[in-house]
Amino acid sequence: MNKILIIDDHADIRRLISITLGKNYEIFEAEDGVSGLKLAMQQQPDIVVLDVMMPGVMNGLQVLDAIQCAPSLSHTKVLMVTARGQVHDYEDGMQRGAYAYFIKPFSPLQLAATIKKALSE
């Protein structure tokens, strides 16, 4: 089963995504950047769903950069799900290597579809 890591400080969002994806995937959750990255290194998920604005030492973009650098995570595709909706935020994220960028509020079904597509590639 494919592993999916959800990193977001809002519990409701994590719940939403987790419920949407259902039992077809192995789902891991983290509340902030540091623990999220740690979990990623541990589990080497296929997909990381990442929020940008999180409290703590690392924000989402820094996590993204870290994931891109980590050789063990070279297969990992990162989907950004964030409230940051400016054009430059989107471009920034895509430039840094995100696979997709979702702006909140987002359609969970579309997110699920994109994950499916990403996994098939």
């Binding site: 809002h10 519990a11 409701d12 969002i13 719940r15 939403l16 995504i17 419920i19 949407t20 604005m53 999180m54 409290p55 703590g56 924000n59 409230a83 940051r84 909706g85 400016q86 702006i103 909140k104 509020p105 987002f106 359609s107 969970p108 079904l109």
Partner: protein, 700 residues
């Protein structure tokens, strides 16, 4: 002579008769005829001799008279003026050569003629009239009049006098006339010169002095005296009149200057000193003069003028004052000015310019516009580089915005970013061609930045609950769930909706607080400990955090306040306490009752009370502490800590509108304590005046 002739003839006749008679009657007597003949011959001889003598005398006399007449005529003819003699019938008895020449005739021809024969009718009439007047009044008359031909041809002075015989009869008139054109011209010139001099003096407002060093006397012109407020008769001719009035502080210097000139060291004497006027006040005078020296170098005479330079001195002082004022204004103005001269080279930079850019006046004085542009551009960040004065000018021209609308925004690459707004103003003045105006908009830019940050943040804050609502709604519509789970999801939607409502309310609150300034507070009297218990029990701390710990005061504390607003304020502070202590720690709420009154706008007799909310979180730096209450200011700008940046400013508004104050204490890395000071009400209660006074306060 004639008489003698008659006598002679009579004698002859008498002789003939006697002889004839004797001869006839006594023909023989020869004695008597001989005697009588002898007597006759002797008498005739005597007579002849006498006659010859008389003749000779006469001739002598005549010769003398002729000679005299010649002398006289020569004198009269050679007199440089007209001369004439007329009889009582206005006929010329004699005229001199000058007169005759003027008529174009010879003197002898004129004798016997009248004025009418010799002069044009009008002139003759005039002369006749004068003659008549002179003869009838028996008085001389002197007239100065222009010559026939107008005054430019010349002036004549005519003098007429009646000739009166010793018996009192008028014999005629004598007159002479002379050309006084020269004299007239001289007089005219003198008059003009005098007038010119007077006008010049008056116009130049100068007083004149003329000093005779030998006698020590000075001529002071009337204007000299008037200038000091004196009449002409109030100042004499002594040098002391001047010395006595020179201001004591100026006297030494003045005398030294005079001496230097008298010694020949200066070509012109010039000195500015104060003179005492009649009214006791002093006037600034410019004293100038020059001496005239003899061969030995002694001063014979010194002449000079006084100019009243009081006005000039006042103007000088005024100009100085203005310059100082402008200088002060420029020094105080936070905006930078750079002015360029006629050839577009830097002429002046204001102190603020130096402060903003680090370029001192000496660094840029005199450089061209192009060099200046390069220099300034070099100080800028690459993204917001100064494009140059020429391009600024072109831009302004193209956009036809005259002087003010087109401004370049540049950013200086200095420590602590600095954003300047640059505009160019062209001048029509001769002295200044253009002024570059640099306005420091760093702060405004930041505020604008914060405001747009705020809007972005506000929008962002709404997105997150929206994401839950939208997301859960979508999956509820597309998937089946068990009843329990479905309810749970619906509940989440509900809660998030509530959160959105509170965010929206907070935004609206802010708008209202800004607009209404607390006029709509509803005040009631309540016990503070009671309120705090309510607030804390109602507050939902973030997950895994404990509720705030409340330590009640020993006694009851009564306040008169708006319950809701106070709750809001407390909630904001408590919420912040949690937000800024992400690593956990206890949030404590305590009461502080000081023994000494707080130094703020507390009124009333009762001591204020402080509600202290303390966290053990990340604390704040000095800068953050200073800006805590700034609208939109967020200590953590990265957005990792959510919030609109309005929370504390709302708290401050609310507390201050209650007549209280907010105090902060923070240590970086250790935590923060926020104390809300509120005025208390005495435990014995309520008079209507209390209500009134408090309402008034809250309307501040």
């Amino acid at each position: 002579m004639r008489n003698k002739l008659y006598i002679g003839i009579l004698l002859v006749i008498a002789y003939v008769l006697i002889e004839t008679v004797w001869l006839i009657f006594v023909p023989n007597d020869h004695f008597v005829p001989v005697v009588s003949t002898t007597i006759l011959i002797v008498s005739l001889l005597l007579l002849l001799g006498h006659a010859a003598r008389v003749n000779k005398l006469l001739r002598q006399r005549t010769d003398e008279l002729n000679q005299r007449e010649n002398y006289l005529r020569a004198s009269i003819d050679n007199l440089p003026f007209f001369f004439w003699l007329k009889d009582a019938d206005h006929r010329f008895l004699a005229v001199n050569k000058v007169f005759a020449e003027a008529c174009g005739r010879s003197p002898t021809d004129i004798v016997g003629l009248t004025d009418f024969d010799v002069w044009p009718h009008e002139l003759a009439e005039g002369y006749r009239k004068d003659d008549i007047e002179v003869m009838s009044s028996r008085k001389e008359k002197s007239v100065e009049e222009p010559v026939a031909g107008g005054s430019n041809a010349g002036w004549i002075e005519t003098y007429k006098k009646p000739v009166i015989a010793s018996d009192g009869n008028i014999l005629g008139t004598v007159g002479f006339a002379r050309d006084i054109s020269d004299r007239r011209q001289l007089l005219d010139a003198l008059e003009k010169s005098e007038l010119r001099w007077q006008l010049a003096l008056e116009g130049s407002n100068e007083g004149i002095w003329d000093w005779n060093p030998a006698t020590g006397e000075v001529y002071f012109s009337e204007h000299w005296k008037n200038m000091l407020g004196y009449r002409a008769d109030e100042i004499g001719t002594s040098l002391d009149e001047w010395i006595y009035r020179v201001h004591p502080d100026d006297l030494d210097r003045t005398m030294a200057d005079v001496q230097r000139h008298l010694r020949g060291e200066t070509d012109l004497y010039q000195n500015e000193h104060r003179m005492r006027c009649k009214n006791g006040e002093y006037k600034w005078i410019l004293d100038r003069g020059r001496a005239q020296f003899d061969r030995q170098g002694h001063a014979l005479r010194m002449v000079g003028s006084h100019s009243d330079i009081t006005e000039r001195k006042k103007t000088e002082a005024l100009i100085l004052e203005n310059a100082e004022q402008l200088s002060a204004i420029f020094s105080l103005s936070p905006d930078g000015f750079v002015s360029f001269d006629k050839s577009h080279c830097v002429k002046y930079v204001s102190p603020a310019f130096t402060h903003l850019t680090g370029l001192a006046e000496i660094d840029v004085l005199g450089i061209t516009e192009g060099e200046f542009s390069t220099l300034l551009a070099g100080l800028c960040t690459p993204e917001s580089r100064f494009a140059g004065i020429a391009s600024q000018r072109a831009m302004q021209k193209i956009q036809a915005c005259g002087n003010s609308e087109c401004r370049q925004r540049i950013e200086l690459a200095v420590a602590g970013k600095r954003v300047l707004e640059v505009s160019l103003r062209e001048s029509k003045s001769e002295v200044v061609s253009q002024i570059l105006y640099l306005r420091d908009i760093t702060h405004e830019t930041e505020v604008d930045h914060m405001k747009s940050e705020f809007l972005a943040t506000a929008a962002h804050e709404l997105r997150t609950p929206m994401a839950s609502i939208y997301g859960f709604a979508e999956i509820l519509l597309n998937q089946d769930f068990e009843q329990n789970e479905r309810n749970e999801l619906l509940n989440t939607i509900f809660k998030q909706s509530e959160l959105m409502v509170s965010i929206i309310n907070e935004l609206l609150d802010l708008a209202r607080i800004e607009a209404r300034r607390g006029k709509d507070f509803t005040l009631s009297l309540f016990e503070l400990g009671n309120l705090l218990q309510e607030v804390i029990s109602g507050f939902k701390p973030p997950s895994e955090r404990t509720s705030p710990v409340l330590q009640l005061a020993a006694q009851k504390i009564l306040v008169r306040a708006d319950r809701n607003k106070l709750t809001q304020a407390l909630n904001n502070v408590i919420s912040n306490a949690y937000k800024y202590s992400p690593n956990g720690g206890e949030i404590s709420v305590t009461f502080i009752q000081p023994s000494v009154a707080q130094p703020s706008e507390h009124t009333g007799d009762t001591l204020p009370v402080g509600i202290c909310i303390r966290d053990q979180g990340i604390g704040m730096t000095h800068e953050q502490l200073a800006r805590v209450f700034e609208r939109f200011y967020r200590a953590d700008a990265s957005g990792a800590i959510p919030g609109t940046g309005l929370g504390m400013s709302i708290v401050k508004e609310i507390i201050e509108l209650h007549g209280g104050s907010v105090a902060l204490e923070s240590h970086l890395g250790k935590g923060t304590a926020v104390t809300l000071w509120l005025p208390t009400s005495p435990t014995t209660e309520t008079s209507p005046t209390d209500i009134l006074s408090f309402t008034e306060q809250s309307e501040l």
